[in-house]
């Protein structure tokens, strides 16, 4: 057999090194699972138009994609000194849900979650949904670890609150979200 690096034995050396988790070699062989790079390779739409960055593992959020809009739409420069600072406790629940769902891995998502918590919504970690007790309706059953009753679920796909009977385990609910010590920008601070 060929005894140098250009035969099967040479390939075997490479495979063995990769099996021993030599990270230098794994990237080249067997290579990277390209489906884990954050691109939807089955998308019927073009990928380039939402491509965020070669270092990002998710596409652009819609709000991050700049468009050339009619200049009349660009009102910020005229209004920004008059705009009130962003204070989440002033806004309706729909705005809070919008901010929560549209800003994954952003401070504003955590802030919206904290405000929803303050308004007695709770995030169910397993169901991955916001729920709250139906107003004026006491739970049918209650214990130290669970309760059962009627709750409103926020259905984000249809953007509505849906009443459902549910068996609620307390340990499945997220505790009050903690906000990191990050400056939050608003127009006036800018």
């Amino acid at each position: 057999m060929v005894t140098d690096q250009f035969g099967i034995a040479g390939l075997l050396t490479f495979i063995r090194a990769a099996n021993e988790n030599d990270h230098n070699l794994i990237a080249l062989a067997p290579g990277i699972d390209l489906t884990t790079l954050g691109l939807n390779l089955n998308s019927p739409e073009n990928l380039y138009s939402t491509f965020q960055s070669p270092w990002a593992d998710s596409p652009c959020r819609p709000q991050d994609i700049d468009y050339h809009v009619p200049v009349e739409y660009l009102t910020n420069i005229f209004l920004r000194d008059k705009l009130a600072p962003i204070k989440l406790n002033r806004y309706g629940e729909d705005v809070l849900f919008f901010l929560f769902y549209m800003n994954g891995n952003d401070f504003i998502q955590l802030a919206a979650a904290a405000e929803l918590y303050t308004r007695d919504w709770r995030y169910h970690k397993e169901e991955r949904v916001w729920i709250t007790r139906a107003p004026g309706v006491e739970p049918l059953m209650k214990s130290a670890t669970y309760e059962r009753g009627t709750y409103y679920f926020f259905d984000v796909q249809n953007w509505r609150r849906v009443a459902k009977e549910f068996h609620l385990e307390y340990d499945k609910l997220e505790e009050r979200p903690t906000l990191p010590n990050t400056m939050h920008h608003n127009a006036s601070q800018q």
Binding site: L12, L28, L34, Y48, F51, S53, H68, M183
Partner: protein, 519 residues
């Protein structure tokens, strides 16, 4: 840099500050045009627009000031003053400067005069590039890409606004940026590499270069930029020297290639040859990505279809587009002449035996001229296809045999040492792509060389070249799959009888696993 007129620096600083304030004022007007009209007056008064030399110096000074401002701001990053604020501070001036440049370009000369506009754009891009390169040399590992990246990308976005004046010069704008980014390619400014890749993979840039510019006029320039990137990565990938920074750049490159594979597979098809010429042989997955591309209107038959008659496929007789002049890479000219003469007359016999010496290289670190090898293989193969078609035949194990072309291939398979043979077989395998006449011919060639090999080493190396492309993660080119399936299924090749199939438990398991998925 030397010889700035006295006082010019102070004037430039004053004007830049003025402009930044005007730009951010609500009174700037639509697209800052009101502010610009007033500002141009000031520039005239200060003598900035007097002549080309002063304008050039003004831009250089402004660029340097913007850059210095950014370095000072970035030096202020502390745990309490975060990156986002620092960036905002930098962009406050940079974006204003970019708007000024864009307006000066748009209003340079009259509306119909595209030449003055492009000349000014080229001048500004050259100045910023020059400042970058100088900064890179001076600051070395302290170099920061941020101000340059911001200037280039925002200027590009501004100059691609949907305005009539800009649409008229769009192709020249793209050319200007591509030239600049070729000058700033990673090999020349490695500290700018990440920003460079970020720029060339920006959705607006890709959109313009590959989608919106008519007749694919941007494709060649974009291909050159990718070749610049591969050439930079090559030495590190070749040595499997993937430190974290190199891995980051490599992974970023893979992401971009995936986007291109998904959205512009025809682009990868057309330029695959140029890319494979510069990608090191051990970058199997990256090369497979490129070779897996196929035209979107093509439906590929499942390579695992039982009794697939590849030679009956309609597409198999059509040649692929190859937009690189590979024949011109066969150098020196006398060698090309001798080659053509041999292909025509199948003589003198000594030509074939002397082939090996042409392929060797005296370049340090490489024993073979890989570019010449690739060109030779593709050229001889395409000549062979023409020859066979000229006789009213199609490539098959019988029609490809006993020809000047196969003389050359068989001689190379036999006479080259293991390294040369590996590179030769790699060059052949690089043509195993989607159904087309090249894929078919070279698939037949590889199988023919296997069947007719006079030593097991040749068969082993053919197997090695195919297997290494199959064991990496997907995607795998269609032509690679059908060739390997044929090799292991067709009893004519007696594949399973060979010692190298059973040489180690991992190898045996590998073949069995690949065979199971094939069969």
């Amino acid at each position: 840099i030397d010889g700035d007129p006295p006082g010019l620096h102070e004037k430039a600083e004053y004007l830049l500050r003025e402009w930044v304030n005007m730009y951010h004022s609500p009174a700037a007007g639509r697209d800052s045009t009101k502010a610009f009209t007033a500002f141009v007056q000031q520039m005239h008064q200060q003598g900035i627009l007097k002549n080309d030399d002063v304008i050039t110096r003004f831009f250089r000074l402004c660029s340097e000031m913007c850059v210095d401002l950014c370095y000072r701001a970035m030096g202020e990053v502390t745990p309490t003053i975060n990156q986002a604020l620092v960036r905002a501070k930098c962009f406050y001036t940079l974006d204003a400067f970019v708007r000024l440049i864009a307006l000066l370009i748009k209003h340079s000369g009259d509306n119909a005069n595209t030449v003055t506009k492009i000349n000014l754009l080229n001048k500004v891009l050259g100045i910023v590039a020059g400042v970058l390169l100088q900064d890179h040399i001076v600051r070395m590992s302290e170099f920061q890409q941020l101000p340059y990246h911001r200037i280039f990308i925002m200027l590009f976005i501004e100059l691609n606004a949907p305005e009539h004046i800009l649409e008229n010069i769009n192709y020249q704008v793209l050319t200007a940026f591509c030239n600049t980014f070729h000058v700033l390619r990673p090999a020349k400014s490695p500290g700018f590499s990440y920003a460079w890749l970020e720029f060339i993979s920006h959705r607006v840039f890709i959109g313009r270069m590959l989608a919106l510019t008519p007749q694919q006029k941007g494709w060649g320039m974009y291909a050159q930029l990718l070749i610049d990137l591969f050439k930079f990565l090559a030495p590190f990938l070749r040595n499997a020297d993937l430190t974290k920074p190199t891995q980051m750049l490599y992974k970023g490159t893979l992401r971009v290639l995936l986007v291109l594979l998904h959205d512009f597979p025809e682009f990868l098809c057309d330029y695959h040859y140029g890319f494979c010429d510069v990608i090191p042989p051990n970058c199997v997955q990256m090369r497979n990505l490129i070779l897996s591309a196929f035209p979107r209107n093509m439906r590929l038959p499942d390579p695992f279809t039982p009794n697939l008659k590849v030679d009956m496929l309609a597409d198999i007789s059509h040649p692929p587009r190859i937009l690189i002049n590979f024949a011109s890479k066969i150098q020196p000219a006398q060698f090309k002449k001798d080659l053509d003469s041999y292909l025509k007359s199948r003589s003198p016999v000594t030509f074939v035996s002397d082939l090996r010496s042409y392929l060797q290289s005296s370049e340090p670190g490489t024993r073979y001229n890989i570019q010449l090898m690739n060109a030779l293989v593709l050229y001889v193969g395409t000549q062979a296809i023409q020859f066979i078609h000229g006789k009213g035949l199609t490539p098959s194990m019988s029609t490809i045999a006993h020809s000047a072309h196969m003389d050359i291939f068989q001689n190379l398979a036999v006479a080259l040492d293991t390294e040369g043979r590996y590179l030769f077989l790699t060059a052949i395998a690089n043509q195993l792509r989607y159904p087309n006449s090249h894929t078919h011919y070279f698939s037949c060639t590889l199988l023919y060389l296997f069947a007719e090999a006079n030593t097991e080493a040749i068969q082993e190396q053919i197997t090695r070249v195919l297997l290494e492309r199959l064991i990496v993660n997907r995607p795998h080119p269609w032509g690679l799959l059908i060739t390997f399936i044929e090799l292991i299924k067709n009893p004519q090749f007696k594949f399973w009888n060979h010692e190298f199939v059973h040489c180690a438990p991992e190898i045996e398991k590998l073949f069995e696993s690949v065979a199971r998925s094939c069969m």
